[in-house]
Each structure stands twice: as C-alpha cells, then as structure tokens.
Symmetry: C2
Subunit: 202 residues, 2 copies
C-alpha cells in the first residue's frame, strides 16, 4: 500500500485539523480543508459561509428543505434539495482532487466514504475527551465560554447525522477508519507522528 | 502518562490477540488472555470451556437464565445469574491484576471499561475487513471453511451485545479507545510497532 491520500475525520475541538496540517507539512502533501469550500463555491455559486455551515451538517428535512432556507439560499437545485446538491458537488470536487494524483490530506466532508474505492487512501478519525475539547474550542477557536459542552454536543450530532444520511454508516465507528486516535490521551504531535510514520513506511 | 497496562479489544479474526502477544513480548509485559480464564476458574469453580465461551458473550435473558444452562452449569450464583456472577468475578480478577502494578497486556473481557478509572492504561481496539478475518480464522484458527462470514458475524454480535450489556457503551465506537487499528490495512506487525512506540514514549 502506497498512501497518497489521507482523509481526516474529526470530532469538533479534537485537534484533528491541526494534526492534518502538521501531517501535510511534514510529508509535503497538499492540504484541503477550507480549500474545498472555495472549489465548491466556484462550482455552485453558494457563498462560502453557507458551504462551511452546511457542508458537514445534517440536511434536515424541514419545512425549509424545498423552499428558501434561513440563510436565504433557494433550496431546490437541479431537482435536488440544496443540501443534496451541495453534497453532490462536494463529492465531485473530492473525487477530482483524488484523480489529480497529487498526494494530499483532506479534512472532513465524508472524504473517507467518498474515496472508499480509491487506492492508496488512509482514513483517520480523530477524537478527544470532553474536557480537552472544551478547553480547546474556548482557548484556541475563540468560542464562547458559556456552555461549550452543548456546542460540542450539537456539532457532534450534526456531523453524525450528516454522515449517516449520506453514507449509511456510523460516524466514529472504528471499522470505518484505518486508524482512530484520541488526542487527549496521545497528544496532537504524537498523533501526527504516528500518521506520518505509517505513510512513510507504506 | 506512563503506560503500564494495555487492554486489547478486538474483532474475532482481526489478529488482535497476535498483536497483544507481540507487544507483551517486545515490552516485557505480562500477558493475560487465557490466563484470566484460569484465575476465574479457580475463583468460581466453573470449567474453563464455560468461561471461555461465556466470558465475552451476551448473557442472554433466555429461559435458561435462572435454571440450568445448556452447558449444565446452574444459572443462579449468590442471587445473580451465572452470567452476571461470571462477569463480577472476571471484573475482580482484572482489577486485582491491575492493582499488582506489574506492567501487562490484557486481551478482551471489557478490561478497557473495567479499568476506565485506572491510571496508565492504554485502550486499544483492533479490527479488520471481512476478507482478512475470513482468511485468518480458516487458515490460522482452523475454523470450518463453510460460511466463516456467518461465524464472524455471530461472534461480533455476541461480543457487541455483551459489551453493551455490561458497560452501556458501544463496542467498537472509536471514542471508547485511545487508539483503533485496522490490521487488514496496516498489518499485524505495524500495529504492534505503533503500540510499542506509544508505550515506550509515554
């Protein structure tokens, strides 16, 4: 197995993005996180905030699903709901990145599932305990100190629902990933080192 | 974190036991797998086959639960069902091993949950894809070549149910473990190396 693509799925606040960046820097791989949002924005015309907010969150079959959603974006695109349309474009962008055959790290957006049949992919899931994540989102991400646990639980729930909706798999179930790491136990640097070591020896 | 105890939970046929043995040998840690069965047998008087069969499997609230079970063992011990009694003794044996403060590797038996509050524990979950596991149980464990997939699914289901029943947690959910590894992707030797490296640097 020669690993050319690393997908990093992560719990909010676990440091998964930092690990992904460190690994990309160390290995000299391209790094795709917000960069995917830029691509999707060009393809769809959706504003970046909308994609960032909705790209990893549950589509939700609400009264807004086929009308005008609360962010003012029309909810029907090419006969699909806006959420499904966004998913299909995100999926195309990720497949295109993979086809470019340039080594890269991709953060989130169900890339592990989308590239499931692709050769040379390492799927990583990063998680951490609640205290570690609470501290991290308040101290590093500048989130409010008021009830960060609720914010984390909300985010987890949205990512979990989104993942289940589009992949029919359980987000965070170990069997979906090649390696899962707890940053609150192992540390961000150590996790990055473990991943780099696997890729270098692949 | 100075790791003195490694618990290895594993899917049947994933090579988790081989990894645990390799890690114990490499680090010079004691190794507890069938050895736990010996301890439990002494404590309970249950025969080893019964403990091996029931120690990681769902208790099952069947008509046998409080009578005489199909293996001929009375099902009520100290007011508990035989399965619950077996669990409580297994739990005590594992806690006693941990209190001895001698570095060790413990395979299965919900040791990750039982030692949840214990310092210096690394919880590992090992899994692999169906093809890898089918090949392994037929070639290495001598299981029948007739429908090994059913055998694997049955085993998974039993371990999953047992884990949920006694821990109220989901078996194989990444957040229960410090590290989860796919042997069919990374290889048994690499997984052992990753674990040894974490422990040596802890």
């Amino acid at each position: 197995m020669s690993i050319k693509i690393i997908t990093v799925s992560r719990q909010f606040g676990s440091g998964g993005r930092s690990i992904a960046k460190k690994v990309a820097d160390e290995l000299g791989f391209n790094y795709y996180d917000k960069e995917i949002i830029d691509h999707v924005s060009v393809e769809t015309g959706f504003c970046k905030d909308y994609i960032a907010e909705r790209g990893e969150h549950a589509p939700g079959r609400t009264i807004f699903s086929y009308g005008l959603d609360p962010m003012g974006v029309p909810n029907v695109m090419n006969g699909m709901s806006a959420a499904d349309y966004l998913w299909s474009i995100q999926r195309q962008v990720i497949l295109k990145i993979a086809e470019e055959d340039t080594p890269c790290v991709i953060v989130g957006r169900c890339a592990d599932y989308i590239l499931g049949e692709h050769e040379g992919v390492l799927n990583v899931f990063v998680h951490a305990d609640m205290e570690f994540r609470k501290d991290r989102i308040v101290r590093l991400y500048g989130e409010s100190e008021k009830n960060p646990e609720k914010r984390l639980n909300d985010k987890d729930k949205k990512r979990k629902t989104n993942y289940m909706y589009y992949t029919n798999q359980e987000w965070g179930n170990a069997t979906n990933y090649d390696i899962c790491l707890d940053t609150s136990r192992l540390g961000v640097d150590k996790c990055a080192e473990i991943i780099c070591n696997i890729v270098k020896n692949s």
